[in-house]
Structures are given as C-alpha cells and as structure tokens.
C-alpha cells in the first residue's frame, strides 16, 4: 500500500520554481534512496513534505496514508507519523534536550488521542534508546544540539526517530559530516527501526551509506524532477559514472 504519494509537485521559492513536477511513490515498509547533484531540489522536497514555511506549492499534491498532507500544519504531520531528520539540525539554547523530547513526544501522543507518557516510562525509553545509539546521558541535559558535534547532532536526530516511532522517516544527508564509526552507529540505529510498517527516504550523495542502509528503490533527482528510478544497483552505477548522463534528460 502506498504510504507517501507525491504527484506532479511544483514548488516555488521566492518566485523561482525549484521542483518542476516531481512524482514519487513510497510504499509501506520500503526504503527509497534519493541521489542527485547539489541544488537539484532534494532538501526542498523534504522540507515541503515536513511543512516548512516559505515554499509555495503551485501544482500537484502530496498524499500521506491517503490524506492531503499539504493541508496539515507541521505538528499535525509529525503526529501523523512524518519525521524529517534535518541535514542541518539547529541548536536551541536554553531548551534542555530531555524537556524537549518529553514535550514533543507527549504533544504527538496528545494529538493522536493517546495517553501521555508517565515520567518513569519516558525516562526508561530514552535511556534504552540513547544507550543503543551511544549517546551519553549528560548530553541530554544540555540545550537541544547545543555544543553537539556534527556526529552527535545526527545521532540526536536518530534518537528522536526511535523515540517518536514515525511511519515515514526522511533522512536528509545523515551521513554528511560523520566519521566512519559514527556513520555505522547512526546507520545501525536506523536499521534497527526498519519494519514492515515503516518507510524511509534516504537522501544521500554517497553509495557508502547505502551499503549500511540498503534501499529497495533508488531515484535520481536532477533539476527538480525524478529522472530515473531503479534498484540498489543504480547507486553503484552513479558512483561510477556521475550525474552527467542525467543532466540532459532533466
């Protein structure tokens, strides 16, 4: 069953069209990789799915579990199960990570009509997840991402993914800035979340990440469109030959 359906999406930023009719379908339980040159619109797509303001959708639609995602506020999308792991997670001084995690998790549960977590249950869950991701407890006492290294920020994104249990995870270049060990820890964290009910869209420039998180489908984006889709071997092909062959196709 289709979890996410992006149909002929056209998006403008500041009067300039960035996505020129993009179509993409992600079924339940599938892992999709999106590759493509800098500036081709990968982050733009992820932002529009998450509901970031500043993007004007001029045409097309996005359905999530059959519902019109574009009608929902970002927090509604999160509560429905959309999670975007940011390419550049922001630092939020003065908002303790623990407090943020609890507030966000309970806000999502409340929006879904579920009971809020009790403090002991919440702490237990955070402890479990952070341990598996090698995140020290004292990091969670600091402000959200404040003073975190690049790798720590990405791990904190994966931590939230594990905690919120979304049905769609979009990972925007989670491999950028990670050393080999950090990459493996983060990728293991992501793999642990694979499930027949959960889909992932992995945006990356490098085949290496896809060795860890093996995709079912690979898409090539160029100039605001998906120009080619294929199996995981497509990523290897791109690694060898680059994007030049698709520039014309776009």
């Amino acid at each position: 069953m289709a979890l996410l359906e992006v149909k002929d999406l056209k998006v403008r930023v500041e009067e300039r069209e960035i996505l020129h009719g993009l179509t993409l379908t992600v079924n339940e339980g599938e892992i999709h990789a999106i590759m493509g040159p800098n500036g081709s619109g990968k982050s733009t797509l992820s932002h529009v799915i998450a509901g970031k303001p500043g993007y004007e959708v001029t045409d097309g639609q996005i359905l999530f579990k059959g519902e019109d995602l574009l009608e929902m506020s970002p927090d509604e999308r999160a509560a429905k199960g959309v999670f975007l792991a940011f390419q550049y997670p922001v630092e939020i001084p003065g908002v303790a990570t623990m407090n943020f995690l609890r507030t966000a998790l309970n806000a999502q549960r409340k929006a879904r009509g579920e009971d809020e977590y009790s403090t002991p249950d919440f702490l237990k869950k955070v402890r479990e997840v952070s341990k598996s991701l090698n995140i020290p407890q004292d990091m969670l006492k600091r402000g959200v991402n404040v003073g975190f290294s690049g790798g720590e920020k990405k791990r904190n994104e994966v931590l939230q993914m594990a905690l919120f249990e979304p049905s769609l995870c979009i990972l925007d270049e989670m491999d950028s800035g990670l050393d080999i060990d950090a990459l493996r820890i983060a990728a293991d964290g992501v793999n642990a979340l694979r499930s027949p009910k959960r889909s992932m869209v992995v945006i990356t420039h490098y085949q290496r990440l896809l060795n860890y998180i093996v995709p079912d489908v690979v898409h090539v984006m160029s100039k605001g469109r998906v120009v080619k889709s294929g199996g995981k071997e497509l990523a290897l092909e791109l690694e060898a030959s680059g994007y030049a062959q698709f520039e014309d196709a776009a």
Binding site: P74, D75, I92, V95
Partner: protein, 434 residues
Amino acid sequence: MNVAVAKTGKGRAVSDLFTSAEGRLPGSSGVTAVRREAFETYERLGLPHRRIEEWKYTDLRALVGEVLPLAAAPDAAALKRAAEAVKAHAISGARKLVLVDGAFVADLSDVKALAAEAGFRTLRETLDKDAGLLKTATVDAMIALNAAMATDGVVLSIADGAQLSAPIQIIHIATAASASAFSRSKVTIGKGARATIVETFVAAGAAAYQINDAVLVSVGDGADVAHIRLMDDAPDAVNVSSQFVTIGANVKYNFFNMTTGAAVSRLQGFITLAGEGSELSANGVNLLQKTEHGDTTLVVDHAVPNCVSREVFRAVIDDRAHSVFQGRIIVRPDAQKTDGKMMTRALLLSDEAEADNKPELEIFADDVSCGHGATAGALDDSLLFYLKARGLPEKQAQALLIQAFVGEAIEQIADDGLREHVIGIAERWLERRQ
C-alpha cells in the same frame, strides 16, 4: 471622596485626595509637616507626562489620568481574600510580611519567626522616630506623592553578619477595587550579612487598583544580597514602584525584577554604588500582553572607584503591549576603574508590539570600561520550525523558546525554591497566551 469636586478639575481633585486621607495617615505633627510639603511638591508637578524627560515613554496623564482615592482599611472579607492570596503566592519556607491595600497585617505575617533573624517594625510604628523615612535624594511627582500618602510599610533591619537561611517575602495584596494603596518600606542590611529579600505584588479579587510603593535599601560592607521583585498585578492595575538602594563596599547585590501584570507599571530604581569593590547585577524581565505598558527605569550611580555593574533587561512583548527600558549609568569623576555594562533584549511576539529602549552613559571619569547594547526581534523561524516538525503546536513551540529566553535571567536566582517559584509565574503568564 467628593466625586462632584473630582470632576470639576484635576487641581481640586488632587488636593481632595490628600485632605480626605490625612486623618488616616500615621505620624504626629512633625511627620504631617513633611507630608504636606511632599504633597505640595506633587501638586506643583502633577502626574508625570511625556514632556518630563524621565517619563517620556510613560505618560501617566495619558495612561492613567488620575490618582484614585486612598483604599479603605481592609475589612474582614478583604482579609479573608488576602489570606487565600497569601497561600497562593507565598514562597515555601520564606518569612512573610503582608501588606493588604497598604496596611500591614500581622496575622498574615511571620513576625515571630522573623524576630529571631531580623529587627522588624512597621512604618506606622517608626515614622515618629524617623521622619527621614519619607525623604529621598531623588524626588519626582510619584515619589513625592508616596511620601505624602504612605499609610504603612515594613522597616527591616538585618544585623551585621546575620546569615538568613530563608528569604524574607514582602507580599503586597490588593483587595480594594478602584482605590489606591501607598506603602513605603525600609530595609537595612548589616555588614557581612547574607539575605534574600523578595517583594511580591498581587491582587486578591481587586480590579482597577493603583499601587504606589517605595523602598529604601541600604547595604553594609561585605554583604551578599539577592533582591527579587515580582510584579504580578491584576491586568487592569497600575503599579508605580520606586527603589532607592545604597550599596557599601565589597558587596554582592543581585537585583531581579519580573513584571507579569498591570495595565501600566513602572519600576524606577536608583542604585548608588557608594563603596569600592562592589558588584551589582540587575536583571529585569517584562512579560507583557494585550495593551499592557511596562516601564523599567534604572539609574546606576557609580559614586566610587572599582565597582562592577551589569544590567540585562529582557522583554517579551505580545499583542499591542509596550515595553520601556531606560538605563542610565553615571560614573562620577572619582569612580575610576568602573566596569559598567547594560544590555537590552526584546522579543517581539506580534507586529504591533512595541519596545522603547533608552540607554544613557554619563561618564565623568577617564579610566573606565562602560557600554551598552541592544537586540530586538521575533522568535527565530528556523528554531520554531524544528520544534513544530517534532510535533509541538505553534503556541507550545513559542512557549518553549520564550521560556528559554526568560530562563537565562531566572537562572541567576540562586535559591532553588525561589527560582522554581519565579519559573511558575512565568509559566502562568505563558498559559494566559494560549
């Protein structure tokens, strides 16, 4: 009060304010003479307005119009409401001193427990011995009016070397609607003493009341003082508070004010660093919504060399509210090696919110390090989006960021219980926005 007269003209109404109250004001003939003189000063100056430089942004003639008649002494019903308010607003463990509509109420206060730690009298008891209580170096119309009309207050003295374990909380409770309360207090802190003084302003069912309070503080050498003010008045109240603080040598003085209520409020502080080697930290927080007007005016006077002063003023301004910060640092000719800085940070939550900021440096010494800075802006969109993308609804996302902004000031309160109490007040303000 004669209402018909009040309507014929402000001049007549004003003197009526005093004559109708005079019989109830404590003090024998010497005190009465001081009061009369103060009242004449007030009559001559009238309510401050925008052409008075110090009141440029807070035009009381336009914002308030008139001074309401003196509140009657609280009756049994008022005291009952006040007792409830004390329960709701008392800091746990603190020694309470309660003033209801400007009258000290022993039954609601912890006079006995306090007696072991500090000297205490009411203003009413003390005035005849010390008419100087009604005199201050700086006089403006509202301070003069306070001297003329003060009905009561607390006179506290903390002995040299005393180490107070619990905060002393002076709680001002308004129960009388459409009336004024005038109070004046004095706090003397001995050499080497350590104390936390809290002033709380709240309402118990009263609406549209006016507060005019003044506090005279003197701090002995080597003392360590936290002075916290919580102006949490009813939304339609007026509160004009004046503070005169004189600081000795090698003192640590942490001053904190948070305004979370009142249609019109003004805190004017006159702080003099009169002994060398002292450190003053002054943090102000204005949390304003609707059409509230909150003014914090601080004059820090470096009268001697080698003192440090830090002022950080934060405002969170919603709707059509208006926040004013006027900060003046004076460095006297002798006050070499002064290190004085002030910073203003305004968070504007609406397009119609307004912030006025007037920093002034008056430096007469040449070997000093002084400066001021200011920032103003909305909440950061990228931070808001991050929080929303993780499931926080708009208002809740804003609340987290506002808490972080205000938290930087509140964090400086060392006492855990007190800090939690202040956080609670800020949270209730945030809930009123939802």
